[in-house]
Symmetry: D2
Subunit: 355 residues, 4 copies
């Protein structure tokens, strides 16, 4: 429930309202706009807060209910950025994560070598696929449990926290030492799995489905949150369109839309989005300029020999340049002050109620 | 026609080849790759260059024909960036253009005021619609001829070159003093109009159709070029997808794809792409980071009262910030050297032949 | 304006209302629903009909305004099907048209031979392209004016009315003896041309744009109608999606949606939609079963040698079978009575007001 | 492996080839075209059939390998239609199935009442959702295990075999008495689940993903088949496009494409495709005319009160009419003989090798 207060509401009115709400076990979120103040109320408002009593308060102008179907993921009820902590690697709230590594784990040598290279270049997390969702049953399906073990070795050798994909909730016990569990694009609406992941306390990297709307992505996050886990990083990785020059179409405007609607951090994967290694550097720079909270990039020490997605993998040398550029762009945007962390606005609240 | 030369080809071999080609009235374009040298041949190769004679030269490995259907727009035959000069405002080859102004021209006061504001902020061209393609016949259709006159007044007052849309080739005489003629998204495949515009010497801003592929955009440019006009700026302005959070989906990867395939400059229009003013600044920054050659941005002195597309127009004050950020991002990318002007590569030539 | 009458309204109430409206120069359209009666009012209601006086009538329950932006094309204001007459060939209101012929006119022999063959098979109109919109400037552009002359010869020889595409309003004088002018998918939003076509009295075949919504198609028709021409046949010819197995995706549900929203007839073009001759027969049968008002099918006497779109052209022999199947399907659907001509319903009116 | 035989191959040559192949444990599939004969060879050709020995046979023109990535689902290796038997209800090979029932099972009364009604109308299977994939975690998630029990009661009461969706492989034990297990659109690429379903002998209804290509649908079927289960019915249920007048866009051309490429039966779900009950009858008729092997239709005894997808459910009375029309259309198409069961053609084989 959202209250819009009258224009002449005073500080003591607000204090009064706060007391009344807290006395009923509700949490008020005060949002001061240019002209008006809005108050989001978190908790069981339907049963604990008779609308007529609230409406009767002299400083309340209108009562609205948020029509966005995502509640826990909604920035209206949680104005501050969520910071996700995966084994010490932070994402969100000004913390930028650089997740890098091969599409699939192929051997101990490969994953350790790439892990060392990306760490030296500035990566904050190691990515790599053990369980691989492949379009064809005849394609390499990943090293599976064995691959996870190799990845954990790479973690021990480099200290990099790891992120890797889960394809079935039955595999969850294998993910105990994984720092962040990835839900792939094809699993974004595997609701039964989302519910189970919500019961863990593991950070989740939730990838947008190939043709998922932004709203559906938020609803998938809501499934996880509704089960009790709010450590979620959203990931845009390209959507399916009619264009064939790139594997998918990277929807960078999703960054701005998501930052407005949710407090969850947003990471961009330019590798899967473009499917072409030589397009990755400019898209990584663009994503950074658009204000994303991190990047997930495929890096392989020998792309031509990769067992999976070689054409979209960059080399460790190229990754060094990408990191340098991304850092420069972030510094430039920050100093030019164009994309500032905005507190939630009353206008935003009204949009959430009306949409 | 493209020749791939043998690995042990010497400089004097290349000189010999150059002489032979020029003697037949053909222009060779030498492209030195890491391992091999490719030579693009511009001119009437079919009639003037017997393939068997060429194949017989000791240093020629293979002869290929470019399979891309765009020839004049193809970077393979024109490795250097094209620079478009519209009344002194340059786009391409390192020159960045900032086209700004209202969606539609509404009055003398409005267009002159916006023109002065955007010029002060750093705009290099004034945009504004006189002829407006509107989905509904009952919506404001623009001031048409009268609007063009007002725009020319704004040009005189500020010195800014102007760019404005043409909707019918019959209106061409009215565009005599217009510096750059815009072909809108809905007209991208108005082939009869493209042919006529090809006969003028006017710079053309060619917008990508709502569901045009990158290849179709290049073929539309090819129509103009085949009629004799090579002063073309391509403009990505969002493509139609299933996502409804934004008006269209801005396809920023088109910048990298187009820069690879063509020598024509690429400008981004984040206003029409997102349809939401508050998403424009981050998309402008992203486009700059991705290496575009310019931006086209809707600026209105009073968006709430705009007769057309108010929700996507930013104010002059916001435009000042956008320009500041874009410049900072461009400087950062340039110094980090991530997106360097690459000469055409042999690999690129081979792709153009194979695709 | 729409009036919803109270449940107990009598016939004499309705007569009274009719008199009052006609006395003010307005035309009432009575729509009797299962439970209520709605009355559409055509004419200048804003100036001629004070809302308060109407609301005061004892049998008026509510007053609504139609929110659909298409007014003249809207079935709410024109419940009866429009029948388009092109040189005697009727489309709509139970009349089924079969437009058949080659993609492009190639020679006198070709067009006359195909015309005779399709007439013998049951075609009601001859289609053929003289002006051809081609993606590449280097592809065959049609015989243009010369092609039109050949088509008129085929008309004289067979008596079949003809339909052919216009690409520029400047060519209009050449279309004087053409029975139906086709506006191609790429021209659907060539608004200046639509306005001019609205000033003619020629039947227009308006093809849906590659990525046009149904609403945009109706708005394009509205452009023509607002200029004075209501002889319009709408044509669905496939929309652009991510699927590559067919050239486009044929949207047959558009038939049901359009029949509900507009009184204009709807024709289906399975040839351009699928791009594959062997898929045309089943899609033609499906379109007929879905209740379309006609079909436009590419027929060529020698598809393998066609200068344009050979792969999607069927032979005259195959066309004979298509016609036989289409007729059988139409008869079956008609006798099973499943898709009956429904009068406009009150529910439909309410939807048009709410959407 | 595919052999194309020389034009002058005799019957005794073919008999000779057959003997040679069978002697090596391989199964030849003879496909006689208009001009040539092709022979598909099923079995371990790589190890058991030296290409040079085959090429040396005097009547062999060329050897090709099928490039389509789906092998078991490919019609080239299995020319005859597969017939799926789910508790006695047959689909494919001329057998038409009518699966009808509510979106979700809500109560014993509801499911039994609907089951009786659809059986009386001609349904061959009862559909109904126990586990419901819903976009929002706050929407009704189905009666789950309890719902399955109610559905089995309806089966006992009516004798109708049942089809219902599985959302997690962990629920498989609950599906023991289910006649056909549905894999929903969102699970089409839940590869781990597909593999497990491949190990059962249960008939599977595999729905096309919201943005899955036809090829991806076939690859998903291949996952199931590669694990040992070939009892698969494919279901087209609308794809995601930019059009908003319908929930999805029904891709009826998929019927023709799938029938060409695979031997698996194809069923159409017009309810989910359109999302609008009043568009279902015409799309059902169209699907039947296009040659589908069955329909899946949502029928609810009180759509307005349905807990899920009421707007797309038709009533039992409307279903009666749909069945009548569908039967009439199928009879009409069959007697007009336009869509005949074609044996596999040599041309088709060549396409499968080249694509």
């Amino acid at each position: 429930m959202i209250l819009i207060l009258k224009a002449d509401t005073t500080k003591s009115d607000i204090a009064d309202l706060k007391n009344r709400l807290e006395a009923r076990g509700l949490r008020p979120v005060i949002m001061e706009g240019a002209e008006k103040v809005a108050v989001g109320i978190i908790g069981e408002t339907r049963s604990h807060l008779p609308a007529d009593q609230i409406q009767a308060l002299p400083y309340v102008e209108t009562i609205r209910r948020v029509s966005d179907p995502y509640k826990l993921a909604n920035r209206v009820f949680h104005p501050e950025d969520t910071v996700v902590d995966a084994g010490g690697a932070l994402t969100g709230g000004g913390n930028f994560s650089l997740m890098a590594g091969p599409c699939s784990i192929e051997s101990r040598e490969q994953i350790v070598e790439v892990a060392k290279a990306v760490k030296a270049a500035g990566a904050t997390m190691l990515r790599g696929g053990a369980f691989k969702p492949r379009t064809s049953p005849y394609d390499f399906q990943g090293l599976r449990g064995e691959g996870l073990k190799l990845m954990l070795e790479a973690k021990r050798e480099t200290g990099l926290p790891i992120v890797t994909e889960i394809m079935s909730i039955d595999h969850l016990p294998l993910f105990e030492d994984v720092d962040m569990i990835q839900v792939g694009a094809r699993s974004m609406q595997n609701f039964e799995m989302l519910k189970e992941l919500g019961k863990t306390k593991k950070p989740i990297l939730l990838k947008r489905g190939l043709s998922a709307t932004i709203k559906e992505l938020l609803m998938a996050a809501e499934y996880i949150m509704a089960s009790g886990n709010d450590q979620i990083v959203l990931c845009e990785r390209g959507i399916r369109t009619y264009e064939t020059a790139t594997r998918n179409t990277l929807d960078l405007s999703a960054i701005a839309v998501l930052h407005e609607r949710t407090h969850l951090p947003v990471v961009i994967d330019p590798s899967h989005a473009t499917g072409v290694a030589r397009y990755v550097p400019s898209m990584a720079a663009a994503a950074a300029a658009a204000g994303c909270d991190g990047l997930m990039i495929e890096v392989h020490n020998n792309p031509a020999a990769a067992l999976c997605d070689g054409p979209q993998s960059i080399t460790p040398d190229e990754f060094v340049k990408v990191v340098r550029t991304v850092k420069a762009v972030r510094a430039a945007v920050s100093s030019a002050n164009a994309i500032q962390a905005k507190p939630i606005s009353v206008e935003q609240v009204i949009r959430a109620c009306a949409s």
